[in-house]
Symmetry: C2
Subunit: 238 residues, 2 copies
């Protein structure tokens, strides 16, 4: 029997056996959606970093690096683009390495480094990710990036979507997995409407990025699974 | 506008403004249910402590103290009773002070000591508690004791019940409050059936205390609100 659990915020990671698990990093609005889209569109790698300065340090490493940095919804001056998934088109990222500075998503990823394997999930690659998870024989820990270590609804609902697709009699669900799946079932008929009541969605609306939000709720428009190799997220090759 | 928020486990308390809030401590299976029942039944006070040794230290203070200590579902040898709500009848606790050792509930309470006020909630006093909360003009933080700092479903569903009863246009809900309310709406038609799938419920069943669980899901059989005064929980007098 394998554990199938949901860590609702990075602050709760110490309560889980990260070492024995495949970890799925989830930051729906917008980091992991953009990462899935970028890897699908041929980015050679995406390197998530915490600080704008770390990101800027890649500037001298050559033209093959694109630097993505955003603070408060605006591209930081001097950077190539921000966190909008629309910046991660084939035209822009094919064969490039994107250095992406995010806060919540990177935080979750860095706290999970001891995991057996770290992959990235979003509604964009829901089915592809779930098909792969289904045939693994390890514990699975879905890590919601949340917002500043607090619970958020969109990451939890996505975790629930994964659970609903992969759970079987070989899995033992924890209470947060049960709750996440139930919330997903409520949200499923109209994800956008359900998530429009969240705090994060309100915040993003104020930033004028409703188009990004809508895009991040597109289900199964990609099939790549980003996986961490060293400090780089690359396309999983089975 | 007041905040109406749910802290899903004590581990997330640092993310909340405890100081400006009325805190409701929630530990449905079984600490806060037993406390509500004991206060209703005339206990002079209930003193929650973390360690069995702290509890034992009250033994020399006189016959008016009842000592409640339980580990792994068994009354600790030499103590008057354990955590079962059935021990908190008027016959046993009237005019007595009960020193209760719990783990999750006490942990949540001790981390919340800076709150404006600390009260105790359970399904037993749901409506009485909600009526009182409704007319307060402070931020409200519902603190789920959880299980060893992890999320649990029964505490969250109860938080959702409170939210469903008190929320109004004067409240700003966080995402965990929204999720808790939705989970409560799912659970409401048959609380026992819904919560039977939780991990904690499984654990308690193994301990042979299904009767306790069923009792803790009785809605509105008490009207007292336990409130913390110093280190003692006493009946609120308005």
């Amino acid at each position: 029997m394998n554990q199938l659990e949901v860590c609702l915020t990075p602050a709760l990671l110490p309560m889980y056996n990260v070492e024995s698990s495949i970890v799925v990093i989830i930051d729906i609005f917008r980091a992991t959606s953009s990462i899935c889209y970028g890897i699908e569109n041929g980015a050679e790698a995406i390197i998530p970093v915490s600080q704008v300065e770390e990101c800027a340090a890649y500037r001298d490493k050559g033209l093959n690096y694109l630097l993505a940095a955003e603070r408060n919804g605006e591209v930081v001056i001097g950077f190539d683009f921000g966190n909008s998934p629309f910046a991660y088109t084939a035209e822009k990222v094919k064969d490039k390495t994107v250095v992406l500075t995010t806060t919540n998503g990177t935080h979750a990823l860095h706290l999970s480094l001891k995991a057996k394997k770290i992959v990235v999930g979003s509604f964009l690659n829901l089915s592809a990710l779930s098909e792969w998870l289904k045939v693994q024989n390890d514990d699975i820990l879905l890590v919601c990036a949340g917002w500043k270590n607090k619970f958020n609804l969109e990451d939890t609902v996505f975790a629930g979507a994964v659970i609903s697709k992969i759970k079987s009699s070989k899995h033992k669900l924890d209470d947060s997995a049960i709750a996440a799946e139930d919330l997903y079932e409520l949200a499923k008929p109209d994800l956008a409407a359900y998530l429009s009541k969240t705090s994060h969605s309100e915040r993003l609306k104020k930033l004028g990025i409703e188009k990004d939000i809508a895009f991040c709720l597109n289900v199964d428009i990609t099939t790549s699974i980003p996986v961490l190799k060293g400090d780089r997220l690359v396309k999983m090759t089975c």
